[in-house]
Symmetry: C2
Subunit: 350 residues, 2 copies
């Protein structure tokens, strides 16, 4: 129907019988425009099916109406699978952006690449949200650099004193504490921990510290022989569990630093003929969608991704607007399922 030439604000101006400046003002909602004029412009816009060219608009306004979401996972050989927890996050962040009228640009950055400049500087995004379970120490410098550049960004991660950036995260310490306390209540006394417990992975480390603190409160000690490193994949969980089994560690419960690790551990335990929860109680962290569906269903800490997404988006937006948001710790919630509940005796299902 319409001719195939790009329609500009000048075409609208002609049709509406006003100047191009007025069209622009009308479209940006300037209070300076007469109501009647605004209506004429609107009519012209609709009849020509016009939309403002964002590139031109953004170039002038030095603004993009877009947030960038960067995943900084360690590169994985099997890169088709994103951690399901972050996938949930992605969903809620997208919703939160939509609510605020922002678009979301997504990028899966490998840690190796030089992302500090990619988005903010190239002006495709006004701010950045960083998500991932990568090695903290490996990207710490880059965060520093981002801060120096004055880039508006927030990070999902462990909230610790002295961080240069704004971080939103779950109360990992408390979560670890809750899990260990719960396992102790179930009568477990030798509770293994699966996950990196070092400053490379501060979220896991906090979970570990919460777990250790809870044990201590009950006169127990976190036994280094009952800890095995694992990053957040099923495979790593399987291997960590195997290593514990192979060195004949004695334990009656396993606290995995993430649900994915727990699922891998479950597989390793099953391989040895060990039953969960009867032989070994098991708990994870995150409450990813599968957690409720595996057999036995998995006790875990639920991180409220909806709330997290809102908080993340709200914080970047504040930074963009020149305000100074604070780092924030969000509560997690203990979800008790079958994997950790010891039946008093050999009874049936819950």
């Amino acid at each position: 129907m319409t001719t195939n030439k790009k329609i500009t604000s000048f075409d609208i101006a002609d049709l509406a019988g006003v100047s191009q400046s007025t069209v622009s003002r009308a479209l940006r909602g300037s209070p300076l425009v007469n109501e009647e004029t605004r209506r004429r412009v609107q009519a012209a816009v609709e009849s020509l099916n016009y939309t403002v060219d964002k590139n031109a608009s953004n170039l002038r306004r030095k603004f993009s109406g877009t947030l960038a979401l960067l995943f900084f996972e360690d590169p994985t050989p099997d890169d088709s699978h994103i951690n399901p927890f972050f996938l949930s996050m992605l969903g809620s962040i997208t919703r939160a952006c939509a609510k605020q009228g922002y678009d979301l640009l997504i990028s899966f950055q490998q840690l190796s690449r030089d992302w500090h400049a990619d988005f903010a500087d190239s002006k495709k995004a006004d701010g950045i949200i960083l998500l991932g379970y990568g090695d903290y120490l490996a990207y710490c410098d880059r965060l520093q650099k981002l801060v120096e550049q004055g880039t508006s960004f927030v990070r999902w991660g462990a909230v610790l004193p002295g961080q240069p950036d704004i971080t939103i995260g779950c109360d990992n310490f408390r979560g670890g504490h809750d899990i260990a306390t719960h396992l102790h209540e179930q009568g477990c006394r030798r509770i293994a921990f699966l996950g990196d417990a070092s400053s490379h992975y501060p979220e896991f480390f906090e979970r570990y510290r919460g777990y250790a603190a809870a044990l201590e409160e009950h006169g127990l000690v976190a036994d280094p022989d009952l800890q095995a490193n694992a990053e957040s994949t099923e495979r790593a969980g399987y291997e960590a569990m195997q290593s514990l089994l192979e060195r004949d560690a004695k334990f009656d419960a396993v606290f995995a630093a993430s649900d994915l690790i727990a699922i891998g551990a479950l597989r390793a335990l099953a391989g040895r003929g060990l039953k969960v929860p009867d032989d070994v109680a098991l708990a994870g962290f995150d409450d990813i969608p599968v957690a409720g569906f595996i057999n036995p269903s998995l006790t875990t800490i639920r991180q409220d991704t909806r709330q997290a997404g809102d908080a993340l988006v709200e914080s970047v937006l504040k930074m963009i607007h020149g305000e100074s948001p604070e780092s924030a710790v969000l509560p997690g919630k203990l979800i008790v399922r079958r994997s950790s509940v010891r039946e008093p005796s050999g009874l049936g299902d819950a």
Copy 2:
């Protein structure tokens, strides 16, 4: 460190001792630039940490280097949950975009909004990928309009003759056929179908048609009393299953049009004390991540999201470059798990 004024190609030109045009050419990889000159420009770029302003660049080039991904799910009350199948798709599409040097812009459009113009016309994206299980008849007109506008877009969905757009989809008919054949092989003779079997949901409808065709090959007929509508949510699956149970339908197997529906059905069956697979064999479609983890693990058709993502991105890119890609049907793969396997007698696990 650096002063906080925006660095432009003119700054680079000054530093490198060349004209701004040359800087631009060097950065865009023009073959016209002398190797030595290019190096000087590169050095200047790095020392000033410069990146090309995409808005300006895109404005001139009438190009954005961005693809938009639109989810056109029906608005759901619980909007924090995206169908896990599409979440997998999202992952693979993101990877495919990255591979091609494109950014991905994400938007969850409600069917109600007027998305036909939003992206392409506002020049934030060069092309659009459409994803969703919404009511086809409800957005058919808009697809038509998009085509008329000459927008570059591809859709994931049922590939049917006479469609105006480019569609990539799974071989739904074949998948439905495979499932029904498999269930028949397991000795099932009264196989129920859970899912909308109408042209509103063409993917489900194709699955249904494949199922009906397979039954027919075995001298059976798809019994309308064994079909109940459901869109692709767990809740709908639960309700559909309930309605069948409540009207006392007799069946020995259930083919759910999606895994989510199957999971809901499983819950309803368990509520009646019916055991899967012993009392009722069950199969789904999609092979979402939970499918292998639920108990019993779910027989389903795996859609290769990696391949799908590649195909989708490749097709839009072709359209953007003025080529004419074809609609394509991708093979699905029958994954047999415990939910549909009848043990010859009361033996143990598989």
